[in-house]
Symmetry: none
Subunit: 184 residues, 2 copies
DNA sequence: CCGGGGAGAGACAATATGCCGCAGTAGCTG
DNA sequence: CAGCTACTGCGGCATATTGTCTCTCCCCGG
């Protein structure tokens, strides 16, 4: 189709399921995605080819991908790096940006949000009229639903444990789960 | 004692009470503090003398102090800037750091925390930060707050537009914004 | 057989939300 | 300047959602 005009994206993510979903979505939008699960794999991929963008999961197994940032930047200072994490915090966000990441996003995030975060040059003052016109953020309800499902999954379906982590009452979580997912 | 060896701190904070408390605490620790309540005052102070550190409240009346960051940096690139806010969010943290702030702290913060955030050279290479604790997901409330801040930021602070995108009633959004962000 | 933890669910008070309406402000335009 | 349009802040409700407490059932390892 259009082999050499496709932007190259390096995806470093240890959640295979999520990685597959993102890869597919990005591929459909005319990006070429290379996926690695660890820092080592990421570096290997980086040696093999050059990338335009990188999406890093902050938590790779037991390790953090923060240390990867300087290495990536060193090889290619034009590389735009997006940090994506299910355990977002202001602290790690600040650190990531200081280390050279270009943006930082908390999961759950849909493809539009990811792409927007990755592509937007700098909404600070550069673009008075950003072209993100067509894309719209998830509703609060939907985001909540996604997040709950994710945490619930991490806890192997244990509602009590999930409620504790989410700092909400178990009864409340129970009721939320009985309702069906919000459409949009 | 040692008049001219005292580090100069520029404090930009519109909450008079808080400003007084911080000023006193810092003065007791051998810093010389100059206080301004608005961006204009801050710039005036900056013209009058040179500073080593700056502490900016993110929310100055109706304005944001983010735009002040580049101006401060321009005059003195060695100036260490700390952003302090009672309405902390990942979005504004990322923006502040991109604009050149050196650190970002959420209120409430005691003097020790403030000083530490201001003085610590760079915890970047002090790496072991990330994995010390058992990473736990954000609470639902926190995630909601972060998401709201993010979308609000994308809409340049337009509450009505944000409410529409988030599919929640404007009155509801308005009320949520008046409350302080949840601790964790 | 007992104790601990999880799950489902009823009841009720405390909050939060949706949805009015009104007033004030700002920008635009004929 | 009047006449629009859009945003903001905020006061009332009526209704919906939560937080809490309480009681069963289950399942599992001692």
């Amino acid at each position: 189709m259009m082999p050499d005009s496709m932007p190259q994206i390096l995806l470093v993510e240890d959640d295979e399921v999520f990685a597959r979903v993102v890869s597919r979505a990005l591929t459909l939008r005319e990006f070429e995605v290379s996926h690695g699960s660890t820092s080592e794999q990421a570096l290997d991929l980086l040696k093999a080819k050059s990338f335009d963008y990188a999406i890093l999961d902050l938590n790779l197994g037991g390790e953090t991908s923060l240390s990867l940032i300087p290495e990536l930047k060193q090889r290619n200072s034009a590389l735009r790096i997006l940090i994506l994490t299910g355990y977002a915090s202001i602290t790690t966000a600040v650190e990531a940006i200081k280390l050279g990441a270009d943006n930082y996003l908390a999961k759950p995030a849909d493809t539009d949000e990811i792409l927007n975060a990755l592509l937007t040059v700098d909404e600070s003052e550069t673009a008075p009229v950003a072209e993100h016109a067509v894309m719209e953020p998830m509703s609060v309800k939907r985001l909540e639903w996604e997040h709950i499902q994710k945490v619930l999954n991490e806890n192997d379906g244990n509602i009590s444990a999930t409620a504790r982590q989410l700092k909400m009452h178990r009864r409340t979580l129970q009721r939320k789960l009985q309702k069906r997912p919000v459409a949009k």
